[in-house]
Subunit: 210 residues, 2 copies
């Protein structure tokens, strides 16, 4: 178990490797070299080999990598086989879009439930996922622990809800609320999805040469 710290740049590339290898696998490709993979992803062969070497030796000299095997190794590295479970907080438009359309299972995550306050959705099912009242959150989590909380609540309640999630033992928060969460608990991981940041970066890039 080599325990050197893996840089964030590498971590961000891992899902891309996984996605490309999945595509290759579905296309029937059985083996690929670092240079071929690099060309198709816009990376250098060196970088790919360097990245993978953080986690082990997955290739074979003179051959390259077995696509399906490497895909499996990366799935493992990403924690896709750890049986992570997620719950959604906030079954508004975005929450429902995730429930109905996003394939959590393809990332190795089981979406177990959603929570909201509105009588319009509480008690219903969306995309096969039950929606409970948020008052039941702690009770639910005590019986059905979850490692990931998906935060799609309104900005205003983001922090209090996040604090409740953390107190109830959630390990990571997937934050869609456009708020910087400030938790005191150190161990909890926050992954922010800031739509506006992404759109503004695009706006910058298309504005540059005008």
């Amino acid at each position: 178990m080599k325990k050197q710290k893996v840089s964030s740049a590498v971590i961000r590339r891992l899902p891309r490797y996984f996605r490309h290898l999945t595509d290759l696998h579905l296309t029937g490709v059985e083996r690929i070299s670092s240079s071929a993979l690099g060309k198709s992803m816009g990376l250098t062969a060196s970088q790919i080999r360097q990245d993978l070497s953080c986690f082990g030796e997955f290739g074979q000299q003179g051959y390259g990598y077995n696509v399906d095997n490497l895909r499996g190794e990366i799935a493992d590295i990403l924690g896709m086989n750890k049986g992570h479970t997620a719950i959604i907080l906030g079954a508004g438009n975005l929450g429902r879009a995730l429930m109905e359309n996003f394939h959590f299972d393809r990332s190795g995550v089981a979406l177990a439930a959603a929570f909201d306050v509105s009588p319009d959705v509480v008690g219903q099912e969306r995309g096969g996922v039950p929606v409970y009242h948020v008052d039941k959150l702690e009770e639910y989590l005590a019986a059905h622990p979850a490692s990931i909380g998906v935060l799609t609540v309104p900005r205003g309640v983001a922090n209090p809800i996040a604090a409740r999630l953390v107190r109830a033992g959630v390990k990571g928060i997937w934050n869609f609320t456009n708020t910087e969460l400030n938790l005191k608990e150190p161990g909890v991981i926050i992954e922010n999805v800031h739509f506006a940041d992404s759109l503004l970066a695009l706006s910058y890039m298309i504005s540059e040469d005008a």
Copy 2:
């Protein structure tokens, strides 16, 4: 007009600066030093000054930065005052969530219309935005040019629709389709929003020390 290339790391931080300055402004903060801003954002003062120096001189020795002024400068840099217009392709769950809940205007972008094929939505309005049949796309864009296409169509049609957008003169594509778009046109900017990549990175981080 200094024209040194701005690194992608800097570009990605600009929207964060904008967001934090907006928050400060709303809280009534009038001036801030690079070190105070750095502390609140988890960056070094050096980095902030270095970043800003790519675009000009916005501070004052011994004083720091005027929050509202700097916010305005960054808005300008980001192209928020260029009058960018966006259209949404695909008025499914995600497309509708963006129409009804995402404030394009807060990023300086006007959302003008959406396009879909389903009779269930075509002809309706969502969040004040009309939904047209995608057959009308070229005709519409000829009359109402847009700089940004928001791609929330199913994976399968992502590439053909993207190609049509580009042919019709769109400058950037905000891609939510979990597909790597391959366009031949060089000038067009693609900004990918890969939910799964983000979730997998989170999965990795919470799995690490288990």
